[in-house]
């Protein structure tokens, strides 16, 4: 493959991932409202409409994100007079960029062999020829990159709090910083058990391990799943861990002084992080793009084979990945509309006194089991 081919393939992959992330964020604006309405016996958004040939079209409220975007664009972009103008503008960018960058290491399908795209591959054996990895960047540090980039997100919140010249913002920024730094530790340690089982840090290898063993991570490491899910929800600052923006206490937290598109970017960043968490959960705990029964050569099971050409298999895997993503996002929204907010001291207690020790115990137990069954 020439450099141009690689560049085109990479651009396509970036477009796919960004497309999913943006589409998911747009749908999430709608889903968050609509789903909460369904849970709370309401109707939800129905007002935004366009009239075509005298018929009012609302698409179940799906037009609301576009109405929101328009509103964001036309709102006054207010910067407090004594705010740090540069940092005030940089903070929302930091939040969005870090959330988007972290998608780079998520694999959304198996390796593609462009030369054999139209053929049915053999089930086993090496395949020669150029390969395209179905992830934007196959980094040797693997999932550590994700932690590193996602960890930078704390800077966005803290800078926003500092740069706004507002006491509520500062409090929110501090809360966000201490919460995110604390949960970062639990977040990383919770996944160590999974790393030990998979024996790798590469997300694509993790998915392959799960596909090969026919065992999804949630069955192998259920405790790690719960710990990671809790820690990551806290990391995203979503309910029940949303004290950095606790309206009843500190107005709007670190984005009190943000309006217009800058506020929209924080909003978007939160939704990107939501999608990102779903993507990581899919990769580490729900078999990534793995669809049980779907092999490299097509569907197989119960002595029944349906051969599929290579590109169909890859497309089905990508679809599987998207469906799993959607289900996990739905589940996160359910959690968000179920649990009440923790008190701040409870959040810290949960992190340092429960999640962290439990993660350590999980690592130890995993190590003992691995030693006992001989890896």
């Amino acid at each position: 493959m020439t450099t141009t081919d690689i560049a085109i393939a990479t651009l396509l992959k970036i477009a796919f991932i960004l497309g999913i992330a943006f589409a998911a964020a747009l749908i999430l604006i709608w889903a968050e409202r609509r789903q909460s309405a369904k849970i709370q016996d309401r109707v939800g958004p129905t007002r935004a409409d366009i009239t075509i040939f005298g018929r009012r079209i609302t698409l179940w409220g799906l037009l609301h994100p576009f109405a929101d975007a328009l509103k964001f664009l036309f709102k006054e972009d207010f910067v407090p007079p004594r705010a740090d103008k540069l940092l005030h503008a940089a903070a929302p960018l930091l939040t969005v960029v870090t959330a988007v960058a972290a998608f780079a290491v998520i694999p959304f399908a198996d390796t593609l062999y462009p030369r054999f795209a139209g053929e049915v591959l053999p089930q086993d054996g090496m395949i020669r020829g150029p390969v395209i990895h179905m992830q934007v960047a196959s980094l040797s540090v693997g999932i550590l990159f994700l932690f590193a980039v996602a960890g930078t997100g704390v800077a966005g919140a803290a800078i926003a709090g500092y740069a706004s010249d507002n006491k509520y913002s500062l409090l929110g920024g501090l809360r966000a910083a201490s919460q995110m730094v604390g949960y970062e530790v639990a977040l990383g340690l919770a996944l160590i058990g999974s790393f030990m089982v998979y024996g790798t840090l590469l997300p694509e290898e993790m998915v392959r391990w799960q596909a090969d063993h026919g065992l999804w991570g949630i069955l192998v490491q259920p405790v790690a799943f719960i710990l990671f899910f809790a820690a990551a929800t806290a990391e995203n600052k979503r309910i029940p861990f949303d004290v950095p923006e606790g309206e009843s206490e500190i107005v709007g937290g670190y984005f009190t002084e943000y309006s217009g598109m800058k506020f929209g970017m924080f909003f978007l960043g939160e939704f990107f992080e939501l999608v990102l968490l779903a993507a990581v959960l899919t990769t580490v705990f729900f078999g990534g793009y793995d669809l049980p029964g779907l092999e490299r050569n097509g569907f197989e099971g119960f002595g029944w084979v349906l051969p599929l050409s290579h590109w169909v298999v890859i497309a089905l895997q990508a679809l599987t990945f998207v469906v799993k993503l959607a289900l996990l996002i739905w589940f996160q929204l359910m959690v968000r509309w179920t649990l009440p907010r923790f008190r701040y001291d409870q959040i810290m207690k949960l992190c340092w006194k429960y999640l962290l020790p439990l993660a350590l115990v999980n690592i130890m137990v995993t190590g003992i089991v691995i030693l006992l069954i001989g890896g």
Partner: protein, 193 residues
């Protein structure tokens, strides 16, 4: 004496929190699936401008002036309502009937009857005060919205054009006009003798 407050001990499952989270998720998911996928949902929302719920019978809506059988207002311009009005939103200018009118010397009529609906606090005191059942708030309507302040100054003709909930301009209480058999036969000039 100090009162002993009982603090129920949490069970292990409640302390661990995860089972309780699952239980809570069960509740919200039950509602979600019921309201999303079944016809028999619990959604109580009324999509307001398209769907309207009728206001309760005693709802105090926009005022109306009731009519006599000949279509003239029942109001006798006694100024009770404008006196009772705490918001001072009613303005009445009384007029005398001509000397040939059978009602001459018996009662007056409102030449001007204006209610500033923006000042009105919809307390209903004017209705309580009216001795003739001439002003009522039983239209079941709230004020139609408008961008212009002038649209909220309701004059006599506007107030008389608004029907009650039954669609008529009448009231339950009959009037006893001069000439009616039930007419008490008293005029202002005669006095009660």
């Amino acid at each position: 004496m100090a009162k002993l407050v009982s603090r129920p001990e949490m069970s292990l499952a409640e302390k661990v929190y995860v089972p309780e989270v699952a239980r809570g998720l069960g509740v919200t998911m039950k509602r979600f699936f019921k309201n999303t996928f079944t016809k028999d949902n619990d959604v109580a929302t009324v999509l307001y401008p398209e769907e309207r719920r009728e206001y309760p019978a005693r709802f105090r809506g926009v005022h109306r002036l009731t009519h006599r059988e000949d279509g003239s207002p029942r109001c006798v311009a006694c100024l009770c309502c404008s006196t009772a009005c705490p918001a001072q939103c009613i303005h009445i200018e009384p007029g005398e009937y001509g000397p040939d009118d059978p009602r001459h010397g018996y009662e007056r009529f409102p030449e001007v009857f204006v209610i500033d609906e923006l000042r009105c606090i919809f307390c209903g005191y004017c209705v309580e005060a009216c001795p003739c059942d001439a002003i009522r708030m039983d239209t079941g309507l709230h004020m139609p919205p408008s961008m212009a302040r002038e649209d909220f100054i309701y004059d006599k003709e506007t107030l008389m054009s608004i029907p009650g909930r039954d669609g008529t301009h009448a009231t339950e209480n009959p009037r006893h006009e001069p000439g009616d058999p039930t007419y008490p036969g008293v005029t202002r000039e005669q006095g009660h003798g």
